[in-house]
Symmetry: C2
Subunit: 128 residues, 2 copies
């Protein structure tokens, strides 16, 4: 039971790392808006939230939040003092994380952004 | 207030992506052990948990968990059927995420693993 099976797929999930710069500080301190944006991203990507936690560090300060998904997670950390936010969308199965990225970008309207795409699974661990 | 300031550092956090293959299924289904391992990793890295959520998908099935940190987050998703786990340690400030990785690897003893190191911040977003 402890050995990996032979049918293990080499990639189990896609993990997109979104960095956004030049975002309105008003958006980056609004925990309710941020929570809505993450739920919207999960919905358009076809993922199913199973839990959510958001932490607002105080008036004018940043927000940390995570949706636990049946398919993995979406997280956000905001730095309103720098107009910056880091978002992760990690999804396995049939979900389409790139649609979640589009939804987040539309909600936050950054001046610039980047998306890095990390395949997660045994292939990344060097044994597939 | 909405424009990024001139003193924004180009890198705000380090995000380490750890993929582990060849892990005992018994470890990967043990939600209490997994939660302890994530707390231990936060402690040795010098980070401060502010909240924690763990979801066990049922006997013999995987666990999803996240620690929200003052410094960002640690997450884990396990696939016991494949002997695989994906861990993220994302920390800003003075914390040392690489020490957290060492702690996680010691706890799960994978047959193989990889660590990818993603700098998060305005430099990644293409505007620094």
């Amino acid at each position: 039971m402890n050995a990996p099976t032979l049918v293990c797929p080499p990639i189990l999930g896609r993990h997109l790392l979104l960095d956004m710069q030049g975002v309105s500080a008003a958006l980056l301190t609004d925990a309710a808006l941020i929570e809505r944006a993450l739920h919207d991203a999960a919905r358009v990507a076809g993922a199913t939230p199973v839990d959510a936690r958001f932490q607002h560090f105080g008036p004018g300060l940043g927000v940390t939040g995570v949706l636990l998904l049946k398919e993995s997670h979406i997280s956000i950390h905001t730095w309103p003092e720098y107009g910056f936010a880091a978002v992760d969308i990690f999804m396995c199965g049939e979900a389409r994380p790139e649609l979640g990225i589009d939804s987040i970008v539309a909600a936050f309207a950054p001046a610039s952004r980047s998306v890095r795409d990390a395949a997660r699974g045994p292939a990344a661990a060097g044994s597939a």
